[in-house]
């Protein structure tokens, strides 16, 4: 296996740990952005450019914008409150990097236990992503359209109710 794929996996996992560990929510959102970038690069590397570009535009772009927007609309806390919360936060999340390293090392050392029994048949694909989405997984596409419409309707209703409550 090539070294660059290991670096890309590091680019995915390490910012994800930082996003969970960071006390500052804006830093966590930025770490999530870098993690999405790593995932998109892995997808490009594995031969999935469509999913990669989708992850790059939606996962890294749109979701980060939504998070930053939501963070900017929340209340600021005082310095004393922030210090108090930071102590509690680091106590709760201190185990997280250790958990990730321990899990990685354990899975790597015991790969004979979980990876050797699995066998893969290498298929040859004849359909493109577009053909799969429009033909064999057409129902998924209808579901996606319905979910997007429900999402737009849900957000519109929630904000309208929020405005009415404020008045």
């Amino acid at each position: 296996m090539e070294l660059h794929l290991l670096i890309l996996i590091g680019l995915l996992v390490v910012p994800a740990i930082l996003a969970a560990f960071a006390m500052d929510l804006l830093r966590a959102a930025m770490a999530l952005l870098v993690s999405s970038l790593g995932l998109a690069l892995i997808m490009f590397n594995l031969g999935a450019p469509l999913a990669g570009s989708f992850e790059l535009s939606v996962g890294a772009g749109l979701i980060t914008v939504l998070f930053v927007n939501a963070i900017s609309l929340t209340r600021l806390i005082s310095e004393e409150e922030r210090l108090e919360r930071a102590k509690d936060h680091y106590q709760r999340f201190a185990i997280l990097p250790l958990l990730a390293i321990a899990l990685g090392v354990l899975m790597y050392l015991r790969q004979d236990f979980w990876a050797t029994g699995l066998s893969f048949v290498k298929h040859t694909e004849t359909q493109t992503v577009g053909e799969i989405l429009w033909q064999s997984r057409g129902l998924d596409l209808i579901g996606q359209i319905v979910i997007i419409m429900v999402g737009v309707y849900g957000v519109a209703i929630l904000f309208r109710r929020g405005k009415q409550d404020n008045v």
Binding site: L25, A28, L39, L66, L96, E125, I148, G162
Partner: protein
Amino acid sequence: MFNLFVVDWIAVAILFCIGLYTMVAAKNMLRILIGYEIMTKGVTLALITAGSVNGKIAFSQALAITVIVIEVVFIAIALAIVIITQKTKRSLDVRKLTNFKG
């Protein structure tokens, strides 16, 4: 030597566990959503890795795109709920969300 399948699945397991731990341990609603995002990244990586190993990369791309669409709609609605909760309760602490009338 390293194997693509092994390393990717280790990354999937780590991402899923980190996300799950964050969702369980966090009290802030935004941090819970960040945990959900991390979990979803693990799931998307699992789909693409499985497709790459099996040679069904186009099929796994179609599924990954579906997962990403569902993820972004969920995040949009959840963040709208977070903003409204912040406005009404003046807090994002999930422990304070137990006394709703319904």
